[in-house]
Amino acid sequence: MKQLLTVVSRRTVAQGATELVCRLEQPQDIAPGRFMHLRVGPLLRRPISIARVDRDLITFLFKEIGQGTAELASLRPDDTIDALGPLGNGFPIAAIHPTQRVVLVGGGIGVPPLYETMRQLVARGVTCEAILGFDTATSVFYEAEFQALGKTTVTTVDGTHGTKGFVTAALRPESYDVLLACGPEPMLKSLQQQPIEHKYLSIENRMGCGIGACFACVCQTPTGGYVKTCSDGPVFRAEEVVL
C-alpha cells in the first residue's frame, strides 16, 4: 500500500494546474475516483485523485494551493514521491449499465478523477457526457481529452470559454440516469438537489491519516451519523451526506 512513485513527466496544463505522470512501483488496476496520499509538504500527506492509470503509469492533475502542491509542481523526472494508496472508494462503475445515461460533472480541480472514470466507463461500453466547469478560459484543461471520450461541454464562470455560468447552466437533469460529480462544495450542494435518480458525489475534506483511523475527515449523514471521507468515500451517494 505504500510505494515509491517515480516522476516520468511534468507539464503545465492550465494556469496554475500541473499534470504529473509517475511510474507505479506496483502496477495495478485502480477503480476510478480513488486517491493517493502523497508525502509532500512539511508533515502531513496530501490527498490527490488519480486522473488516469495505464498499467504502470499514473497521472495526477492538481492546482497549486499551498506548499504541498507547490512542491509537487516542482518535481522533475526521476524524482520520487512516497505514496500511500490507492485509498478510498471510487465511483461505482461496475454498477452502471451500458443502457444508463451517464453525466460526469466536474468543477475546477474536481475534474481529474472524472477523466479516469469516463475512460473506464467508455471502455465498458457506457455512453457518457461530461460537463466541466472552470473559472475562466485560462484555467480550462483536458477539454480535448474528454472530448475524445464523448460529448463534452465546458462552462466558465466569466464566459471566456464555452457556456457562460456554472456547470448547472449546461445540465439538463431529465436527460440522465446517473450523475457522477466532483468539485467544490457549492457545486456539489446544488447537484445534490438535481432530479437525477442516481447521484454520486466525490467530496473533499482535510485529512490526517487517510485510512480511517483519525476521524479528521468525517462528514455528517442525514440520520445524524457520520461517514469518513477517506475510507468510506471520497465518493458517496448524494443522499448519504450532509454538505
Binding site: G41, L44, R206
Partner: protein, 310 residues
Amino acid sequence: MTERLRVELPGLSLKNPIMPASGCFGFGEEYAKLYDLSELGAIMIKAATGEERYGNPTPRVAESGMGMLNAIGLQNPGVDGILTNKMPFLETFDTAIIANVAGSTPEEYELVAEKMSQHPGIHALELNISCPNVKSGGIQFGTDPSLAAELTRRVKRVSTKPVYVKLSPNVTSIVEMARAVEAAGADGLTMINTLVGMRIDVRTGQPILANRIGGLSGPSIKPVAIRMIHDVAQAVSIPIIGMGGVMEVDDVLEMIYAGASAVAVGTANFVNPYICQELIQQLPERMDELGIDHILDIRGKAYESTLHRA
C-alpha cells in the same frame, strides 16, 4: 522480539517500549491491515466518553510548519460501543491495551474508567485530563493541580487497573501537576498531550479549524516534550510514557534519555502508517550502534549524570 526491549510497567508487560498514541491509531482496525499489531508494545486506543460523541465540525485538522493542529473533539463510539464493538478485535492481538478515559464531569470519568477497567482485555487506563478540544471538561482538570488530583483519586477508587494520568503541556508548572497526581495515586504518567494552537486562513481572516483552536502535535512540540519529561522524571517516582513529535528511532532514545520508560507515537502514524513497526525493528540496530545494551539502561541518563557531576 529480543529481551533488550522489554519494559515492565504497572499493569503493562511490554515486549518493547513502542506504542501508538491515543487518537492516532483509532481502535487498530485500519493499521491491522498493514502489519501485525502483536508486534506493538501496547496500543493506546482513542478516547472513550460515557456516551457516543460526534465531535467537532470540520475542518478538524490543519498543518503548521512541522506540526499538525487537530480538533477532533473526542469523537468516539462511547465506552459501551468500544467494549462491545472494538475490544473483541483488539483482544485478538498479543499486545497490551491502554484505554484512554475522557469525560466532561468527574462522574463521567468514573463511569468510563470503571467499565473500562473491568474488561479483561484492558491492561491499564490513561486518564485524559488534557484534551484541549472540548468546550467543557478535559482541559480544566489538566491545568489545575487540585482538580487533577481529585479526579485521579476518584478514578483510582473505581478502577481495578493501573491508572496513568495524561498531562497537558499548557501549564506553568508541569512538575506541580505531576506531583499532584502522583500523590493522588496515579500509577504512571503519560505526557505530553498537545499544545493549544490556532491557524488563521488569510483568505477568510478566520481560523482554519471549525473549532477555532486545536491541539498542536508532531515534531514542532518535541523539544517541549523532552524538556517536560526531563523535569518531571526527576520529580516523581512513577514511570512516564513519553510522547510528542516522535518520528524517528533517535527521538525514541531522546525521550528515554530524558526519563521516559516507554514511548508513544502519535502524528507520525499519519505520515507513515508503518512507523511503529519500523521503530521497533530499528531500535536494536540503533542501540548496537550506540552501545546500548538494554533500552532502559539509558533511562534518565540525561539528568542522572548531572546529578553525579553536581
